[in-house]
Symmetry: C2
Subunit: 315 residues, 2 copies
């Protein structure tokens, strides 16, 4: 077959693609050039996973890429009805972020339990003030999202002695269905949002759900900003319905400098970095090259997204 055209939507240089030299005709584009180039591409690699350009540029009919890969776990930024209805295969970066995100969640949980943000404040003020802190072992967590990221979080929290329940789209072995969620939230010390953004999960953490949680509970979102009604979280913290929270993802990213969220007491704000360890771009590049080799050889792809559900169906 002729050398396929690989179109890369990128905002910054991408490692490891040199390994495809001679096996792909690689073109780069930004969001503006995407619509014009998409019909001529065999494969689209969405390297700039912060962009929503694919949704806007996807051709309704006629020629289009047969395969779209996104260098991210979530696919919400690129899915649109036309892409979902097409026979184009969509794959994601399943597997790369699991362990790093699990460690990041453990870091936030332990930092909140040990009152580390306050310790750093007191250090700035040169003030020695002994406080008692919390033991995490023996506590209870609920992780919403039963994919590889949610399971990795449950494994790491479990290793710290925290009894962890997973909640998924449907009940199955080791996973609770949504019908158990409120009951689990009512007794959790830690609530971790790690679900994909779908029509079922959008806005699921709203005022009612924060009201169900214990006053001592703390909430962490490393999934997608839109899982959370941000105003409701800020109010729940202000009214001490819950004891603390940490957000790594937001409705609008980067979080605008004038957002009130930066200064909500009891809220840790981080810039969508939970999975991004040193070397992550390398790993994403290597993963894509391996998938490309399968695709070029006509073999079945891995990490194929169920385009109706919006994620890779699990075990």
């Amino acid at each position: 077959m002729p050398t396929p055209t690989l179109l890369v939507l990128d905002a910054e240089p991408l490692p490891r693609l040199g390994r495809l030299t001679g096996r792909a005709h690689v073109e780069h584009t930004d969001a503006k050039g995407l619509a014009e180039r998409l019909p001529h591409a065999d494969v689209l690699l969405v390297w700039d996973f912060t962009s929503h350009a694919v949704r806007d540029a996807w051709p309704g009919e006629g020629p289009r890429p047969r395969w779209v890969h996104t260098a991210s776990a979530g696919v919400d930024h690129l899915m649109c009805p036309e892409l979902a209805a097409s026979d184009t295969v969509v794959t994601n970066a399943r597997g790369i972020f699991d362990q790093p995100i699990a460690e990041y969640v453990a870091a936030l949980v332990l930092a909140m339990a040990k009152d580390l943000p306050r310790t750093l404040e007191l250090q700035r003020e040169r003030t020695w003030r002994h406080r008692e802190s919390q033991k995490v072992a023996g506590g209870r967590a609920v992780v919403v999202g039963s994919g590889p990221i949610g399971r990795a979080i449950a494994g790491t929290l479990g290793a710290l002695g925290i009894t962890t329940a997973l909640v998924g789209r449907t009940a199955r072995a080791g996973v609770h269905g949504p019908e158990d969620l409120d009951r689990l939230l009512a007794r959790a010390d830690w609530v971790i949002a790690a679900a994909p953004l779908t029509e079922q999960t959008r806005g699921m953490f709203d005022a009612r759900r924060f009201g169900v949680m214990q006053p001592s509970a703390r909430f962490v979102n490393i999934g997608r900003g839109q899982l959370v009604v941000e105003d409701a979280l800020a109010e729940a913290l202000a009214k001490q319905w819950i004891a603390g929270a940490a957000l790594d993802v937001f409705e609008s990213e980067p979080l605008p400098a004038d957002s009130p969220l930066w200064q909500v007491p009891g809220l840790i704000v981080s810039p969508h970095m939970s999975g991004d360890i040193v070397g992550w771009r390398d790993e994403l590049g290597t993963q894509f090259v391996e998938l490309y080799e399968l695709w070029a050889a006509g073999e079945p792809l891995k990490n194929v997204v169920d385009k109706q559900r919006g994620y890779v169906p699990g075990h």
Copy 2:
């Protein structure tokens, strides 16, 4: 026998001692009154474990308590040659602090790996700045101190996927001797000081040892301040011989407001709180009451300190 006199050196109220009503004649004292009362006491409970008063007040000859218990893991604050040479039994709070301290160390390790202090700074500045962070799984740690606290730390770091070596006073199964320390330090990502303060360990983390560590290494001290030459640590951080450090204990506690340590870049300062979870005073009180019941029944005590070595000999 007549009701024994239990003398309590305390700075604040102590829970659970009411359970000894009728079985002990309980007297309270501060540091000033200690020397006068010591000769009349059968048992001394050092509840104010920040005090060095016992060392100064211990009677050289004549009547003195037959048993001294300290509500702390370390005994360096009370040991003196006269106490060491006497037949008075010394016990400590072995077991209470192990898991809380292990969690605290994990919190510091993860916070440094995930650059959390910088994230909190950027939040104050309302600045969204994505950074890459470190994966802890697959890294290497050295824990100096092979007692229950050191072993609990090794267990928790191991659960996070960090390969952890223990270094003790002498080599034995699962524990390296001091002769291996420099070789282990040279390849460690994390160095944790969890040793008792003895003549062998005083000042062991000095300029030479920080020079042996990797530039990417981070150092944590939750043992005793005097294990570390503080000026040498500050200099090692300034010269980037190591990448970061966290101290929970200091040569002088509370750390004076004018100490330069408060503002050393890359150093986290916390107020000797690593083991002090909510309920710790209750646990310490309960532990003492249980030991008192053994003692009053003439049964062998637990947690008996080797007064020459300065800690409870382990397995």
